[in-house]
């Protein structure tokens, strides 16, 4: 029996936790696109899910080469969106982690930080472009209660959210870098 859930996640780690919780409850993700998740019944805990941000878009030759490799390891690609992929593996074949040493984990954390930083910059540019409009309407109407307040604030909030979220991953990378002084894995 299929179930479709619409949910917007920004933090991929929380998203991954959710998918694994669903799997434990007997619902396995079988299809994914952007904010649309399709589940099918499964044995509780049958699958382990992992989410990864690739270096390139999923249709890039480099990504294709990596994804073919991953499929050869008995890992299923459940869905792709932009540079994000959701992978799953059967739990009875052992543990499943994409990165198992600090170097690769650090690289992935920085990749995620850069992803959020990029969008924060885009949003900030849009935000800055809105400011003159916001100001002139405020002065003209002598009130801040107009549509530009909504759009400007929304953009401002998005900039801050992306930066804060991205910084979490940058912090994680720094922690891993410290651990790397002592351990390889």
């Amino acid at each position: 029996m299929r179930r479709t859930i619409w949910k917007a996640y920004y933090n991929y780690e929380k998203e991954e936790q959710w998918l694994n919780k669903m799997s434990e409850k007997g619902l396995a993700l079988v299809d994914y696109f952007w904010i649309r998740y399709v589940f099918e019944d499964c044995h509780p805990g049958e699958y382990i899910y992992r989410i990864e941000l690739l270096e390139h878009f999923s249709n890039h030759p480099e990504s294709q080469s990596y994804l073919h490799f991953v499929e050869d390891m008995d890992i299923e690609i459940v869905g792709k969106w932009l540079r994000w992929v959701i992978l799953r593996k059967k739990a009875d074949s052992g543990s499943f982690d994409i990165y198992t040493d600090y170097d690769s984990r650090i690289r992935h954390c920085y990749r995620v930080w850069h992803w959020f930083r990029f969008f924060a910059v885009i949003e900030f540019i849009c935000f800055s472009m809105q400011i003159p409009a916001f100001v002139s309407v405020t002065v003209a109407d002598r009130t801040i209660w107009h549509p530009y307040l909504f759009t400007t604030s929304l953009l401002g909030i998005m900039v801050v959210s992306f930066v804060l979220l991205g910084l979490q991953f940058r912090r994680k990378a720094k922690q891993y870098e410290k651990e790397k002084n002592i351990y390889e894995t």
Binding site: D72, M73, T100
Partner: protein, 108 residues
């Protein structure tokens, strides 16, 4: 410094990957062999393994030898340069082990 120090210390993952490729293997096989050789201690994630294999290919320590007959998976095997790297690494590990044993004995 001895001539054998052309090679630095290998990571555990790379060392085990090289050892597993004394016979040709595909990606999944490498992962299983490494887990087996390490007594279940070392698990290589696909992301880590993919990166390491590409680096080893670039260095010429392993080579890809086309598809395995039955399953069309790409296989890899160690090269002469790779074998030399393993030899140096084993010597380095032996040195580490000796030093550790000696110090522990002297300070019992």
């Amino acid at each position: 410094m001895s001539k054998h120090n052309d090679y630095g210390a290998l990571t555990e993952a790379v060392y085990y990957i090289l050892l597993s490729l004394f016979r040709p293997l595909h990606g999944y096989g490498i992962m299983q062999k490494v887990t087996e050789m390490s007594g279940g201690r070392v698990h290589l994630g696909p992301g880590t393994l993919y990166g390491a294999l590409n680096t080893l290919l670039e260095k010429g320590w392993i080579q890809s030898i086309g598809m395995e007959q039955s399953s069309r998976k790409k296989e890899y095997v160690i090269t002469q340069a790779g074998r030399l790297a393993v030899t140096c690494e084993v010597a380095r590990l032996q040195e580490l082990l000796e030093a550790g044993r000696q110090i522990q004995e002297d300070n019992e």
